[in-house]
Subunit: 138 residues, 2 copies
């Protein structure tokens, strides 16, 4: 694999506007956009952090995975995502190293992008997403 | 302030070698170095993630702040650090935005670098470090 870069850091918050007061207002990260995602039951704000992004996620309602995470763990860092050129190769490399994947076959988003999650028990407690960059060189 | 970049992401682990099996072995991040820091009672491994770094911290003994964090919270992401050109200006900007700092005057490391921490309750649950880059433009 080519050297990897952090694609984004996802943070679960209980109040998006209060969190933006810090990340956008005080820290000065440019707001890349906001999204109301009914499908995932989450309001999202994207901030640019020098190529990587910070994604703030506020759950809508109480039923989503993010809502349950917030209720159980409180607000804070949820996962870190690395962009990979070839998800199949990356997943094979994980398996060869006896790293546990949460999904052993790729998941696909509505826009066709593919991703997988690495189990925190194999990473030192961090939920890690691997996201396949469309059109990247393998 | 100039646009900020993520300097490093710090992860508290209970087993540095097991964590390196993922971050270095499976994910393929280049190992930048290891450090045995008696003063902070922590073993550290630095990995390069495309300009940003991932820092894995394994506590030595049970008495350090990192050891207590691990005992209380379990392994996982500990803090995220942004490099700033002018720490005093950044801290003033935080205070003006009613963001709570953990230390309201800068702390100084043995090598002279200055830093401050933002309280998680002002950020959406994330401990954020601001680190002053030596020799950067203000």
């Amino acid at each position: 694999m080519a050297p990897l870069k952090i694609d984004h850091l996802a943070v679960v918050v209980d109040n998006l506007d209060a969190a933006l007061n810090f990340w956008q207002g005080a820290l000065g990260l440019p707001l890349g956009g906001k999204e109301h995602n009914e499908h995932e039951a989450v309001d999202i704000a994207f901030l640019d952090a020098g190529g990587a992004r910070v994604e703030l996620l506020q759950p809508i309602g109480d039923e989503s995975g993010i809502a349950k995470y917030l209720a159980k763990r409180g607000p804070g860092m949820h996962h870190i995502c690395f962009a990979v050129a070839d998800l199949d190769a990356a997943m094979a490399q994980m398996t060869a190293a006896q790293v546990e994947l949460i999904n052993t076959t790729p998941r696909t988003r509505e826009d066709g992008t593919r991703y997988a999650f690495v189990h925190p028990k194999s990473t030192g407690g961090v939920l890690v997403e691997l996201y396949e960059m469309a059109g990247e060189q393998a």
